[in-house]
């Protein structure tokens, strides 16, 4: 049943998304592709939409998948499910487990998880870039040109402003590049 699947899938994502804004992306890709809710391209589009609208990526993705799979009810269910673990953990920690956070063993495991997820995100980003260029089938010339252009923009921005480009301008620039490169 779709509601049960949405519940299970987004509960998994909610439980294992440690760290910053991007750490849920590998898990979301895993779960969403596994259930066949969205294609790889649709996930990428939704990441862009999420970056340009308010709210954490995993909450946005849950709302979107829930809505496209099972309408308003599915969308409410998926959104509430994905925040449930975070909610329960904060309630538990502030009421009962304050000491647990200072526990060395607990900290060691959390550090391990965080280090591992850094590697996982790095691999996910690298694989997405390679996939977009067509590494799995045949190389797509336009995608290669676009990738080179995006990489140049990011590196130049960093050199000139000495900070990382924020997501929204980068998304806008790559949208314009897409219209130009795929339009001609």
């Amino acid at each position: 049943m779709i509601y049960w699947e949405l519940f299970l899938g987004f509960l998994k994502i909610g439980c294992f998304s440690f760290g910053g804004a991007y750490s849920a992306i590998p898990l979301i890709r895993d779960v969403v592709l596994d259930y066949g809710w969205l294609t790889s391209d649709e996930i990428t589009y939704m990441i862009a939409v999420s970056e340009s609208t308010p709210g954490p990526i995993m909450v946005n993705l849950a709302t979107y998948v829930g809505s496209t799979q099972a309408g308003l009810l599915g969308s409410v269910l998926a959104t509430l499910t994905v925040v449930l673990p975070a909610f329960l953990i904060i309630v538990l920690i502030t009421t009962l487990l304050k000491a647990a956070l200072k526990n060395m063993c607990f900290q060691a495991v959390l550090d391990g998880l965080k280090n591992c997820i850094s590697g996982i995100i790095l691999a996910t980003g690298l694989w997405m870039v390679l996939q977009n260029c067509g590494v799995e089938s045949s190389f797509d010339q336009r995608a290669l040109i676009l990738s080179a252009a995006v990489a140049v923009v990011m590196i130049l921005y960093r050199k000139i402003k000495s900070k990382r480009i924020s997501p929204i301008p980068l998304i806008l620039i790559s949208a314009v590049l897409g219209v130009v490169v795929y339009g001609v």
């Binding site: 991007y22 590998p26 709210g55 965080k114 997820i117």
Partner: protein, 186 residues
Amino acid sequence: MKLLIELFLTFAKIGLFTFGGGYAMIPVVEDNCVDKKGWITHDEMMNITVIAESTPGPIAINAATYVGLRRGGLPGAIAATLGVILPSFIIIYAISMFLEDFLEIAIISNAFKGIKIGVGFLILDAGINMALKVSRDAMAVGIMAAGFGALLIVDIFSLNVSSIAILLAAGIISFAMYFIRGRRQR
């Protein structure tokens, strides 16, 4: 009841202005909950950041639950958490109704082909940044490299292994290493 409504509305406002999630929302929460409302202290705000870092879930949700719980108990936590997700819920729900039709327009579809490539680089950039922050310690770097290698192999060979399994393995190894290292030091 008044407090619950105030928590709900304040966090709805915070939810509306946190694009992309993550650390961008820390100053917004601080401005609203510490400076304007005095609901929590600056120290508590630091605590929230640390707790959010080491527990699952976006920091926006963690902060809302924490502040709500401190000010209004469990009902407060529920009001603040629902408030912080409501704006993004409404926006994405609206988008979900028309995104597919929208993508059929040629120029939009080309723009999204470009965006797809941009997002790949965005995630790669975030990954590089996170990897650079991993402490220079053989064990930390080893676990990161193992996570990187394992997921890349899974992707390249389209293996049916979940990244959750890789994470669990990392957790178990860290747990074991904690005891092995502890014993050596004694």
